[in-house]
């Protein structure tokens, strides 16, 4: 069950129990109060009845006593005697009056100003009655009423002789009213069977004389001991526990009433207290349960929140697993999934899809020059532009680095891809604002179509990659569709690699020799051995085209050995033929330089050919030197020990410091051709060249200029005391035969000093 429902239900149940108990208490309290009041009214009535009857009897006896005495003595005597003997009731309250047969006053035992009964008004009822007659109440003063009890008396002959009366204040009969018992609204009274109240008292108020329908009031059949019933009293419309009881001997009934309101006031107060307490308890319970409910709700909310956070976290993790954190695009794994999915779908409906493979053209430059943050910024911007260039249903993903892919999942023909590709090129080519500068990058796009260009994911991706490379080869910032021809091209590359392996065995490599001449007199001082590959089909292949391949497959090592051996052998041969001893410089590739067998290979070549080590010079580039300084120093020192000279190639393009040059025990530095090329026009290049020459000279190194092509360049270098030069101004690389010719000519044709 839902906790709010549970708590509400629980609260209602507890409240129901509480209020059921409360109402039970209230009912019992009321019932008890009712019974108590009814019983009290009966008690009061019993007491009152006894008191009234006794009072009436005393009066009755007085009347009879006086009547009896009047047969023997005159009236005044009777009253005096009886008074002296204490046989008359206290004159303070009781006045005794004696009249003659005609109603004339004979005597009174106290001279109060009570009006006497008129002589002619002796009623027949008194005259003929055997018993005491209860008169009607007579007003004697303000709120004071008098009751007359009368009885006729007879002379010795039995004749009616007059009337004896006892006059009593009506209040006497209700003086037993106890406010402590009966309250201020109870009633105590005496009513005649004629329906006229002889006296009636409520609180302190005493009245008499009001008439009621006695038969309607009287309850003759009521048992004397039965408790009082509540009725609305007709004389004042007050609800009372009322008892009206007829007296046995007299034509009177007593009236006793206890106000319901007063009698039940205590009970009402208790009830009010119960209700108040229950209400308080209810309020307390409601507050407690509300509080508990609220806390419970809070707890639930908290749990829900934690749950939601976990789900959210899981979603986040999943999202991160399938998306590139930098650009928010799907990553390689997710794209692979999407591609497969789309390929299946397209296959099912016999449609096509296009895969665009994108690679930024100058990304590496930007990343290197502006830093990674700028590079990341650029990638994010590119991602946004790509996303904006395609439809919502198209997929853009980042494979890593600067590689993106775009998948167009629903196309019917290749032509539809063209506008998309153009749009992408345009979007990317717009200038970027990076670190406050404006930049332009371009993108090369390779496109494959499914199923035409590949039936599986791998082929489709690989071919798109090939197409993209083709686009790069075609000058970048364009898009190319994949074609079988492109694949053939890369097949050629494959055959180059395999033919390279056999090239050494087939003796397809040649060494060319470029003379080095002394600046001062143009004399040939040595040469640089240069490697060429005479491909049976492709013709002469330059080193830059196959050396990376050879480095990659390890062929560089045997090739290097061949170069050393061949070059040294050639040099020795020339000397044996009588030519002057010349130095021979051999280039080392990066991989060769760090090969652990390098020194052994060189030693072996020297030993086998018998060439003087001092004539051998190895050329290394600055970048090779800088790779691992410790190792470089070690290798160079070993070479030095062998007597081999060391030259730094392409000097000026790297970052070698002067101190390094000294440490490396270098013999020669070669100024890179690129400086020489613009030396006549560029002030900067002039300065650099001058500096390099000055450094070299100060360290006692031989400074060689490369790529000298004309006399202007030559003159500049000579003016600045460069030692040697090579280049087309002297000689291009020559075959061994041509080189021998040049040297022979020089030996037989002395050069002017």
């Amino acid at each position: 069950m839902e906790p709010p429902v549970l708590f509400t239900a629980l609260t209602l149940v507890v409240l129901a129990v509480l209020w059921a108990a409360t109402f039970n208490f209230i009912t019992r309290e009321r019932e008890t109060a009712h019974q108590t009041a009814a019983a009290l009214a009966a008690d009061v009535a019993d007491t009152y009845e006894a008191q009234v009857v006794r009072a009436l009897r005393e009066i009755d006896q007085t009347l009879k006593l006086v009547g009896y005495e009047l047969r023997r003595q005159p009236p005044q005597q009777v009253l005096d005697d009886l008074g002296m003997q204490g046989l008359l009731p206290p004159p303070m309250l009781f006045t005794i009056e004696i009249t003659d047969a005609g109603g004339g006053l004979l005597v009174r035992n106290n001279d109060s100003d009570i009006p006497q009964a008129k002589a002619d008004t002796v009623p027949e009822s008194v005259r003929s009655a055997q018993d005491m007659v209860v008169g009607l109440p007579q007003r004697t003063g303000h709120d004071e009423w008098q009751l007359r009890f009368a009885q006729g008396y007879r002379d010795n002959q039995g004749r009616f002789a007059g009337v004896v009366s006892v006059l009593v204040p009506a209040a006497y009969f209700v003086s037993g009213y106890e406010p402590s018992v009966m309250g201020n609204s109870g009633v105590l009274g005496m009513i005649g069977t004629d329906g006229i109240f002889r006296v009636k008292r409520t609180g302190e108020a005493i009245s008499a004389g009001d008439a009621l329908d006695y038969s309607a009031l009287a309850q003759e059949d009521v048992d004397a001991n039965s408790p009082a019933s509540v009725q609305s009293n007709p004389w004042d419309n007050t609800r009372r526990y009322t008892i009206i009881r007829k007296l046995y001997q007299y034509p009177l009934a007593i009236v006793v009433g206890l106000s319901e309101k007063e009698q039940l006031a205590g009970a009402h107060e208790t009830v009010r207290l119960y209700i108040l307490r229950s209400a308080g308890a209810s309020l307390f319970l409601i507050i407690i349960f509300t509080l508990l409910g609220w806390l419970n709700w809070r707890l639930q909310q908290e749990r829900k929140r934690v749950m939601e956070e976990r789900i959210e976290h899981a979603k986040q993790v999943e999202y991160l697993a399938f998306h590139d954190s930098l650009t928010d695009l799907p990553n390689r794994a997710y794209f692979s999934h999407l591609l497969t999915e789309n390929m299946q779908r397209v296959h099912r409906y016999e449609r096509h899809l296009a895969l665009l493979f994108l690679d930024l053209d100058r990304f590496k430059t930007i990343n290197d020059s502006l830093g990674h943050d700028a590079g990341d910024e650029l990638l994010r911007e590119v991602a946004l532009r790509l996303r904006a260039s395609v439809r919502e249903s198209d997929i853009v993903a980042r494979l890593g680095g600067d590689e993106f892919v775009v998948l167009l999942p629903e196309i019917s023909e290749a032509e539809q891809v063209v506008p998309v590709a153009e749009k992408i090129l345009t979007a990317v080519a717009k200038p970027f604002e990076l670190v406050g500068q404006e930049f332009r990058v371009t993108v090369s796009v390779g496109i494959t179509l499914y199923p035409g260009d590949g039936r599986d994911e791998q082929t489709l991706m690989k071919n798109a990659d090939v197409a993209m490379y083709h686009a790069k080869e075609l000058g970048k910032n364009n898009f190319q569709f994949y074609s079988e021809a492109l694949n053939t091209n890369s097949l050629e590359r494959l055959s180059l690699e395999s033919s390279l392996r056999s090239a050494l065995e087939h003796n397809e490599f040649r060494l060319y020799y470029q003379p080095k001449r002394r600046m001062s007199n143009g004399e040939v001082t040595g040469m640089e051995a240069l490697l060429r590959w005479e491909h049976p089909e492709l013709g002469l292949v330059l080193p830059m085209q196959f050396i990376p391949l050879a480095e990659e497959n390890g062929l560089i090592i045997p090739l290097g050995r061949w170069v050393f051996k061949t070059a040294c052998q050639q040099n020795v041969t020339w000397q044996q033929q009588g030519y002057p001893p010349l130095t021979i410089a051999i280039n080392l590739s990066a991989r060769q330089f760090i090969d652990e067998h390098l020194l052994d290979d060189i030693k072996l070549a020297l030993k086998e050919t018998g060439m003087d080590p001092r004539l051998l010079e190895v050329e290394i580039t600055e970048s090779m030197v800088m790779r691992d300084l410790q190792q470089t120093i070690q290798i160079l020192q070993s070479l030095k020990q062998m007597g081999v000279r060391v030259a730094i190639d392409d000097f000026g393009t790297g970052y070698s410091s002067l101190s390094n040059l000294k440490q490396f025990s270098v013999d020669t530095i070669k100024i890179d051709g690129s400086f020489i090329q613009d030396i006549v026009r560029s002030q900067e290049d002039q300065g650099l060249t001058e500096a390099i020459i000055a450094v070299g000279r100060s360290l006692g190194l031989t400074v060689v200029a490369e790529g000298v092509e004309n006399s202007d360049q030559f003159e500049f270098l000579r003016r600045h005391f460069c030692d040697e030069f090579q280049g087309f101004y002297g000689n291009e690389p020559l075959t061994a035969e041509d080189f021998a010719q040049v040297v022979w000519k020089q030996a037989n044709q002395p050069v002017p000093d």
Partner: protein, 141 residues
């Protein structure tokens, strides 16, 4: 009850201050009686039928003047702080509920003096001018 006592106290005070100037009602007993004084509350209790003994243990019988006597109201008003109507109501209740009878009345001071002089247990009140040798005026404390 507390209110009644208070009223009683104030009445006593008034009487104490002004009493000397009145043609006073005095409370008397027989000269043969050993009592010389009486507490005001005891006096009230005796005349209201609540007490029939003096503090010394002697029985006491109160005698009253008739309602017509001018001393009647003076006595009850002055010594008991009650009006004749209150006295009447008091006895009315006692008689009706059967709990007592009012003191015996005598017609005048002469009858009172006679009744008291011959009965050491009787107590009554008369005009101070009528005090005779065989009577003792009680000091009211």
């Amino acid at each position: 009850m507390l209110n009644a006592l208070k009223r009683l106290g104030i009445g006593f005070l008034l009487w104490g201050v002004t009493g000397a100037g009145f043609s006073d009602v005095v409370v008397v007993m027989s000269a043969q009686s050993p009592s010389t004084s009486i507490n005001r509350e005891e006096l009230a209790d005796i005349y209201l039928g609540r007490l029939n003994q003096l503090p010394n243990g002697a029985q006491v019988i109160p005698l009253d003047q008739t309602e017509r006597s001018p001393l009647y109201e003076e006595f009850y008003q002055g010594y008991l702080g009650r009006t004749p109507a209150q006295i009447k109501a008091h006895w009315s209740r006692l008689i009706f509920t059967g709990r007592g009878q009012p003191p015996q009345s005598v017609p005048d001071d002469k009858a009172m003096i006679e009744a008291i002089a011959n009965n050491p247990r009787a107590i009554g009140y008369i005009d101070s001018e009528n005090v005779s040798e065989n009577l003792r005026v009680l000091n009211i404390e």
